[in-house]
């Protein structure tokens, strides 16, 4: 409680700087700062997408995402009840507020526009979605083709003979800007279908919840879920390569105990079998190993291609299971039959033919639109985004070569506006024949920010700030974050509950066991069979771990998050979207995961 009254959440102005990180605000653009008048609004922490403090560059993931989301909903499709989403950053965490439309006349006026525009997308969904994939592919191709200029001693002769007429330092900024622009475009495409697809899902879900007040959200998700969606592909490719390694007698070499380079060298040394396996690895890796080890919004979420330790660790687990005689294949026919059976049974339980006809319409629409929800992440957050950060590392390399940075990786400690300046610094230096100016100050800033990020990581961000609203029914907040008045009430109650961690009941069942808290997928080899996984968030990279654990708990994610979907498929309890499970649970703690109620109880 705050200020002696009954407010469960602090006001933005009451948040103190974390000691040792007082200058955190230098990391982010001024427009992300809380203003005095923001105290009047309700803000929720977007721990779903930004569970860790944002490095300075990674603030762009919030900037472009919130440029795109509000523009798509409020200006492009003109959703009747939302004017957009605001974001602020405090102590490195991202908070959001919705600006709803409350005037009924205004909603009616907007509805007329929305009907036409959204109707067009729904009506032409298959064609538009097909074109969307091509647009995404073009953005990815263009990004991958971008080369950071070398800026050597002198430009190539053909710059002169082709009549281009400008030197390569010009291209530094142009290409950097193109990377930023492509990130913005991709985020616009990311949101292009997402609200409409979630809208179809939520309307179906509300219909079923009215007809069957006690239906679990998990059952609704199961009726809609795709079976052959790309999200499973990276993990399927690992299983395929693990099986091939066993078949070719190379399985003794598949290990995460030594450096990946040594593993590949050893396999290459096994003659024809080794060559064949390496060729298959290459086949799998484009595009499937462009999968991120996180959910793609942070620069340190590397792809499997960037960092093969993660897929090698996964494959090593699969090799063990193959040796133990496990069948690793996903029973897709059975899963599809189960999905259809669940839908058929709920349909039969409805009380009239009218309801059954409405059910068929809504489920049909969901099955059309939902593949987008499941697939867009691979194109956006995984493939494009890991390549985007990789490209930024190349610009970091240029800055490091010119002495602006110690290490290419340090580029992520600068805002993209600051990088713009430092690239100009390098462009000028190359043109002036002298070193860049003020590099010591840049290096000092980088060092200070790295230290601040470590301090900020210890801050326990309140789930919400400001006064609890009477009603919270912004469609974007509900569709994208699953946050409703009920959620806010749950947070307010949980604020005073110290041996229970609350989240979404993502997969049913109750088990007790020993917790293993993992900060990232790089640590998955620490998990022992029968432990309970507690982690910030999962992605396809975590796939191999689900064969060993008996329950899963995550800080972020909702009913359709990776952890939730995979846990349901494995039939193990899961509680996701807890906000702070990794902070409150320690490895070795005995916990009870109640996937029916969405609660984790700390036992000892």
């Amino acid at each position: 409680m705050h200020e002696g009254d009954r407010r469960p959440f602090p006001l933005p102005s009451e948040i103190a700087d974390v000691p040792g990180a007082e200058r955190w605000s230098t990391m982010y653009a001024p427009f992300t700062r809380f203003q005095p008048e923001d105290d009047a609004k309700f803000w929720f922490c977007n721990a779903t997408h930004f569970p860790e403090p944002l490095p300075a560059f990674d603030g762009i993931s919030a900037e472009v995402a919130y440029t795109a989301i509000g523009a798509n909903t409020a200006r492009l499709f003109v959703f009747p009840a939302t004017l957009g989403i605001e974001h602020r950053i405090v102590n490195g965490r991202v908070y959001l507020a919705a600006n709803p439309v409350t005037d009924p006349d205004e909603i009616v006026r907007r509805l007329e526009v929305f009907q036409r525009r959204a109707g067009y997308y729904y009506e032409h969904w298959d064609r538009l979605y097909g074109e969307w994939k091509q647009r995404m592919q073009r953005a990815i191709d263009e990004l991958e083709a971008i080369e950071v200029p070398e800026l050597g001693e002198m430009d190539d002769e053909d710059v002169v003979t082709s009549g281009r007429g400008y030197a390569s330092n010009h291209l530094v900024r142009e290409r950097f800007h193109r990377c930023i622009d492509l990130y913005s475009i991709v985020w616009n495409h990311h949101i292009e279908f997402v609200m409409l697809a979630f809208g179809a899902y939520v309307v179906f879900s509300e219909f079923l919840t009215t007809a069957f007040p006690e239906i679990p959200e998990q059952a609704i998700a199961r009726m809609v879920a795709g079976i052959d969606v790309v999200m499973y592909r990276p993990d399927e490719e690992l299983k395929r390569l693990a099986a091939l390694a066993v078949e070719l007698g190379l399985d003794d070499l598949v290990t995460d105990d030594v450096e990946p380079a040594a593993v590949f060298a050893a396999i290459a040394g096994r003659g024809e079998a080794g060559q064949r396996w390496l060729a298959e690895w290459q086949t799998s890796s484009v595009p499937w190993f462009h999968v991120s080890t996180g959910d793609g919004l942070y620069h340190h979420h590397r792809s499997w291609r960037d960092d093969p330790r993660v897929p090698l660790a996964g494959m090593a687990r699969y090799v063990e299971r193959l040796r133990a005689g496990d069948d690793l294949r996903r029973p897709t026919d059975r899963l599809r039959a189960e999905r259809d059976e669940v839908a058929a049974q709920y349909r039969a339980l409805l009380s009239s033919e009218d309801e059954r006809a409405a059910f068929d319409q809504m489920l049909g629409l969901c099955r059309t639109t939902f593949p987008y929800i499941e697939e867009h992440k691979f194109y956006c957050e995984h493939w494009f985004t890991t390549q985007f950060f990789a490209k930024l590392r190349d610009f970091g390399g240029l800055l490091a070569r010119f002495g602006v940075l110690e290490d290419p990786e340090d580029v992520f400690q600068l805002q993209h506006y600051e990088i713009d300046q430092q690239l100009a610094n390098v462009m000028l230096a190359w043109a002036a024949g002298s070193p860049p100016v003020g590099t010591d100050a840049v290096k000092a800033t980088v060092a200070e920010r790295k230290a601040m990020l470590e301090v900020l990581a210890t801050w326990s961000a309140p789930p919400a700030l400001g006064p609890v609203p009477e009603a919270l029914n912004d469609p974007a907040v509900k569709l994208l974050w699953g946050i409703t008045s009920q959620t806010v009430r749950r947070w307010a109650e949980a604020a005073s509950d110290d041996d229970r961690v609350h989240g979404y009941a993502a997969s049913p069942g109750v088990v007790e066991g020993v917790a293993r808290v993992l900060a990232s997928v790089n640590e998955i080899d620490r998990i022992e069979t029968g432990e309970i996984l507690v982690c910030p968030v999962t992605s396809p990279s975590w796939g191999p771990v689900f064969g060993k654990i008996k329950a899963a708990v995550s800080d972020s994610g909702g009913m359709m998050s990776h952890a939730a979907i995979v846990a349901r498929e494995y039939g193990m309890p899961a509680v996701v979207g807890t906000g702070d499970a990794t902070r409150r649970i320690r490895t070795g703690d005995r916990i009870r995961v109640d996937g029916d109620e969405g609660v984790v109880v700390l036992l000892s």
Partner: protein, 357 residues
């Protein structure tokens, strides 16, 4: 035709849902469950024909029925006084020799007591019109558990008959305008289940009316403690569709009803400390209950409330018995408006929903 003297007592397995007039609502429902192949403790019913014969002998002119027509159903004292003679006469009458012989023969034909000695039975009232869709007589007539001797059984049979004329039963009939001529009492006699746990299952949620779930309430010992409200039972909600346990509330169950070791009947005792907060059912038993509940509901085509018990010491999966099934009455009367109707285009559902403020 049901008055034929050969019809004084019948085995449960020889009757079904159409035999309410002969064996009462409970007897007919149990017979139907036996026909479905569901686990029901072996037993028989003393028929309404036997009851009518006994009543006619005691009240040959039907004076009681005539008297009732003149009574104010809200004047409990007057009703009680008017019924007392017939009640007392039924409770103490000499049974016709043919009936007594039939009851003794049926009792002796039941399976032997697993514990040796005389087989303990439950003697349960089964009135006509009871447990119908329109009127629930729940708990108005007497039931006697752990009856261990043949002579006691005959006493309890008479007591069940008499309970048709208890104040509560008579007033209930009067208030609902149930004709007195139709009121008759059969009595079900069944092998007693030595219940480790018992309770009720509802094939639609009693709290929300949701048809996609089965709600189960369970406590230690006999179901009488749950029905009597002396214990707050564990509450489970299971999905009919996925079979998952959706909600699981294990309560602290301090009391239970167990057979009285001194002889007939049951007594109330404290639940051992280590069991009080333990679940009264395991997941296998919940799954079996879900399966049985679905089978009963599918057979009747309407939601059912089902009483059940798990026998102590039975091998896994074999201890569950159904003790009664009756149509659910609270939700099935309502006619809620349809939740949704089809629209011109599927996406109109979404556009309309997103257009609401």
């Amino acid at each position: 035709m049901h008055d034929a003297p050969t019809n004084l007592a019948v085995r449960l397995c020889d009757v079904g849902r159409d035999d309410v007039l002969l064996v009462g609502g409970k007897g007919a429902s149990l017979g139907e469950l036996v026909r479905l192949g569901l686990p029901v403790p072996a037993g028989f019913a003393v028929t309404t024909a036997a009851f009518r014969a006994a009543r006619s002998a005691l009240d040959p002119d039907g004076r009681t029925a005539g008297l009732l027509a003149t009574l104010d159903p809200h004047d409990h004292q007057a009703v009680d006084a008017a019924m007392a003679p017939l009640r007392a006469a039924l409770a103490t009458c000499d049974l016709p020799p043919a009936l007594e012989a039939a009851v003794r023969a049926h009792y002796r034909a039941l399976p032997p007591s697993p514990a040796g000695g005389p087989l303990p039975v439950a003697v349960r009232s089964s009135a006509t019109g009871e447990d119908g869709l329109d009127a629930s007589f729940a708990g108005l007539q007497d039931t006697f558990l752990w009856v261990r001797h043949e002579d006691r059984l005959l006493d309890r049979l008479r007591a069940c008959w008499a309970s048709l004329y208890s104040v509560e039963s008579v007033c209930y009939r009067l208030q609902r305008g149930i004709p007195e001529d139709d009121a008759a009492m059969a009595v079900v006699v069944q092998q007693m289940v030595d219940a480790r746990s018992s309770g009720v299952l509802f094939t639609r949620s009693p709290s929300t009316g949701d048809r996609s779930v089965v709600a189960v309430e369970a406590a230690w010992g006999l179901g009488s403690a749950v029905v009597g409200g002396e214990v707050t039972p564990d509450a489970y909600t299971l999905s009919k569709v996925t079979g998952d346990v959706l909600r699981r509330h294990v309560s602290c169950k301090t009391r239970r009803h167990v057979p009285d070791p001194d002889g007939d009947g049951v007594r109330d005792e404290e639940v051992p400390a280590e069991l009080q907060s333990a679940p009264a059912l395991d997941d296998g038993e919940l799954a079996r209950l879900l399966e049985l509940g679905r089978a009963v509901e599918a057979h009747y085509g309407v939601a059912q409330d089902v009483e059940w018990a798990v026998a102590a010491g039975a091998p896994q999966g074999e201890g569950l018995f159904l003790l009664q099934s009756r149509p659910e009455t609270a939700w099935s009367k309502r006619q809620p408006p349809p939740v949704a109707a089809p629209k011109a285009r599927a996406f109109d559902h979404v556009i309309e929903a997103l257009g609401r403020p």
